[in-house]
């Protein structure tokens, strides 16, 4: 069964304090790994797709990386507006279209 585990479950940072979020996955052949941001009361907002080990994507203060077993979301010099829950999801090869999500990581950035 495909599984996604995110750690830590919650993280508090001071503004400007860089850190990384981890997403470990078990999947029967990775088709894609997705990072989403979710604000309270809102739907997941797409950030990145990663397809193969070694791939990296960047957007503003966020950088996502991928290995064969995990993905990291690096946050450089975060700002309070980066506070949100960050979701990781995988899609497996073999015809299934569903995304399997992790439980998410709640990030709070204090000014």
């Amino acid at each position: 069964e495909d599984q996604v585990t995110q750690s830590p479950e919650a993280l508090r940072l001071q503004e400007g304090e860089s850190s990384s979020l981890n997403c470990s996955y078990t999947v029967s052949g990775l088709r894609g790994l997705f990072w989403y941001r979710q604000d309270p009361g809102k739907g997941p907002e797409f950030l990145f797709t990663l397809y193969s080990a070694g791939e990296e994507k960047e957007k503003e203060r966020l950088k996502a990386t991928l290995t064969k077993k995990e993905s990291f979301l690096h946050i450089t010099a975060p700002k309070p507006e980066d506070s949100a829950t960050y979701l990781c999801a995988v899609q497996a090869r073999g015809g299934s279209e569903k995304l399997v999500f992790g439980k998410g990581m709640k990030l709070t950035v204090n000014p």
């Binding site: 569903k98 999500f101 439980k103």
Partner: protein, 117 residues
């Protein structure tokens, strides 16, 4: 930027009643999905829909659930006889296409919070 819109934002219903959750996907998208998130739990896949038929469904999507694209813009999820455990946030999503090794990302709406009493 185009977005997925869902109505209502909050629906309260009594156990055993039927509810219809509505979604307007992004206009050029071809694939449509429903996911749900029970409070404090993971976002879970319910069903995917393409070319006017269900392409995949999860174990959660039993006979009490149905989906429909009644016209060119709306996509609905019907729960025939709601149970307490159906209380959750229901998200509609759409994507342009899924082909080869390239995936168009899913774009989610802001959800309908369903409360069954």
């Amino acid at each position: 930027e185009p977005e997925v819109t869902q109505t209502p934002s909050h629906q309260v219903t009594q156990m055993g009643q039927e509810v219809i959750l509505r979604c307007v996907p992004i206009s050029n998208h071809l694939y449509f999905y429903w996911y749900r998130q029970i409070l404090g739990q993971k976002v879970e896949f319910l069903v995917s829909f393409y070319n006017n038929e269900i392409s995949e469904k999860s174990e959660i999507f039993d006979d009490q659930f149905s989906v429909e694209r009644p016209d060119g813009s709306n996509f609905t999820l019907k729960i025939r006889s709601t149970k307490l455990e159906d209380s959750a946030m229901y998200f509609c999503a759409s994507s342009e296409r899924v082909w080869g090794s390239y995936n168009s990302p899913l774009h989610f709406g802001n959800g309908t919070r369903l409360t069954v009493t």
